[in-house]
């Protein structure tokens, strides 16, 4: 079982690195999807099947699709790929890479003490559900309000300025949302 963990972890890391280094946006997103799927596999190995499923549904499914829409809307052509490449010269990667490695080394050093084991017993979705509507009831309500706010915000920002509240003609989104 923990072989699966390590394999999935490796895939996740590699695909994440690939995701941030692709100059072509679509490729980056696809790599990210692979990364999210492997992370959901990791969740599974850690004994959290419910979260693994959720991860695939929302992250890989919803959010990545949203990104896909955004990129499609912006119809980034070939020139975008070219521009991407000269937007981040090697030197910048070195700087940020170094910073991340330092951060990684520190965190690794701090985490290396614990002896505890994970995933000995899976945490059943029923337990999660009970806790969700038990102690965290308030949290859930807040999360829902957050989503509502996000919805309203996105709707408002998406509308181009100057457009009347109710478009006179048919609801054909004439031009990018």
């Amino acid at each position: 079982m923990n072989i699966l963990f390590y394999v999935a972890a490796a895939i996740a890391i590699v695909s994440s690195i690939a995701a941030i280094t692709r100059s072509h946006a679509i490729h980056a997103i696809l790599f990210l999807v692979v990364s999210f799927v492997s992370i959901s596999l990791v969740f599974y190995t850690l004994g959290a099947p419910f979260i693994a499923a959720l991860e695939v549904i929302t992250y890989a499914g919803a959010i990545m699709v949203l990104f896909m829409f955004a990129i499609m809307l912006l119809n980034l052509g070939a020139h975008a790929v070219q521009r991407e490449r000269q937007w981040q010269p090697r030197i910048v990667w070195a700087g940020s890479g170094l910073l991340s490695l330092i951060l990684l080394a520190q965190l690794a050093w701090t985490f290396s003490f614990g002896k505890a084991q994970t995933g000995s017993l899976p945490v059943a979705p029923s337990q999660v559900g009970a806790a969700l509507f038990g102690t965290y009831l308030l949290g859930v309500e807040l999360a829902s309000m957050l989503l509502l706010a996000g919805l309203a915000g996105a709707y408002y920002l998406g509308k181009r300025s100057g457009e009347p509240e109710h478009p006179k003609g048919g609801a054909d989104g004439n031009g990018p949302a």
Binding site: V123, L146, G153
Partner: protein, 102 residues
């Protein structure tokens, strides 16, 4: 069921976090910056779930849920803003939006 030491899981989340950070700092395309932010969020969620599984408590997973909702909202608003910025400044370059100078 063979178990995975907690430190390794946390190590994985740290790695993903670092990768996300590198991405945010390096990329000049707004969308990819948002993408890297997603990676970082996910890494944080991973750490929560790992801790939850270590203590066999559902709290970790609930925290992941909350992270999930915020991530979703954040992406939607983020992308809307990116679209608006692209519409206004005709470019996705994050440095172009540098008017808040000191």
């Amino acid at each position: 069921m063979a178990t995975v030491p907690l430190s390794h899981a946390l190590l994985l989340s740290a790695a993903l976090f670092a990768i996300g950070l590198a991405g945010v700092i390096t990329r000049r395309n707004m969308i990819l910056v948002l993408l890297s932010a997603e990676i970082m969020l996910n890494a944080a969620g991973l750490a929560f779930v790992a801790a939850g599984s270590r203590w066999l408590a559902p709290d970790g997973q609930i925290m992941f849920l909350f992270i999930l909702t915020t991530a979703a909202v954040e992406v939607s608003i983020g992308l809307a803003l990116v679209l608006r910025q692209n519409h206004l400044a005709k470019s996705l370059d994050i440095d172009a939006a540098g008017s808040m100078k000191g």
